[in-house]
Point group: C2
Chain length 199, copies 2
């Protein structure tokens, strides 16, 4: 066998090039030639590592969910080590928001995919599952916190979990249009968490 290449790593590199194009010029500008040029390779390599354009887009989406889960997971794991439910929820919310250039890029691309899925009626299963997943995560944490007497009285935790998860999505788009920066977003989230937690 000749020059061995790590196909998965190569695909990740090509996906990065795709992200750069999609986040700066839109998903419409993602063509085989554009990705090839951005990655600094010949157009053939794109075809070589992705049978078809749709495969390339699919792989890039899978990669972006990986990166997102990785990023959020790091923050959540760190917060979970403290055993503080409030910190975990905070990490869940802030962990998916565009707080720096890199995450902003990925969030922009994510929105682009989201729009395509919505406008086609055929939404990827994981696309649909993301919000309920976040709701469940938050609801679990709220449940634990209540058992430990850390939750203010008179709250409907299911509705609170929904509201928090929904606010996360809203914050994401609000930050992408520049209406809120990371600092203000954190303030709003903390303000809401203050209403839920005692102490």
């Amino acid at each position: 066998m000749p020059k061995r290449v790590d196909h998965e790593e190569k695909r990740r590199d090509l996906a990065e090039a795709l992200f750069r194009i999609a986040s700066m010029r839109g998903l419409q500008a993602v063509t085989l030639r554009a990705v090839a040029a951005e990655a600094g390779v010949s157009m053939f390599q794109i075809q070589y590592y992705f049978p078809t354009k749709e495969d390339m887009l699919r792989h890039a989406w899978q990669r972006i969910t990986e990166l997102g889960a990785e990023r959020a997971g790091r923050g959540i794991a760190e917060a979970a080590r403290t055993g503080d439910e409030r910190a975990v929820i905070r990490a869940c919310v802030l962990g998916v928001l565009p707080t720096d250039e890199r995450s902003r890029m990925l969030c922009a691309v994510q929105i682009a995919y989201f729009a395509v899925d919505v406008t086609r009626g055929s939404q990827a299963p994981d696309q649909q599952a993301m919000l309920p997943h976040l709701v469940r995560l938050i609801a679990d944490q709220l449940g634990h916190a209540r058992q430990r007497g850390r939750i203010a009285p008179g709250l409907d935790l299911q509705l609170e979990a929904d509201a928090l998860a929904i606010m996360t999505g809203g914050l994401l788009s609000g930050m992408l249009v520049g209406a809120y920066d990371a600092t203000r977003a954190a303030e709003i989230v903390d303000y809401r968490l203050d209403q839920l937690f005692t102490g």
Copy 2:
């Protein structure tokens, strides 16, 4: 002069055809030929009423904001007649959500435009202004309500206005992916309003 045609009405019709395509097959599928076929006219008519494709897309966006403002405005005006600030805020929030097939279609198209703008960095001014505008509307209503002693004590109304407006954006996307229906969305909004208003 010959057969007089209402150009604006014609453009509105063509915009509707564009909406149908964009909401069902994505903005990428919006081509001059596709819009012509969907509207049941020749491709030339598209060119005749829109100098260029970008003009067509721009006009459609302008039209969709008109329709949105109209719809929300109706609900808000009705609520405003009661003089109930809570009802006004409720109308502001629910008035922009996809509660039926028509509004769902328009919201989907709106998201598509939003994604294009975000991924190009060059966001239309009104796109950026929408969220702050909603915040101001809600904040004003909350201010009035507080003066009338209808607001629960210990709240930061600016943060509450931000949180409500942000939740609106989140609900919109949540509903588009099918995570929430109109009923559940109203429940969540009412739950939050219950926390803000007394009585």
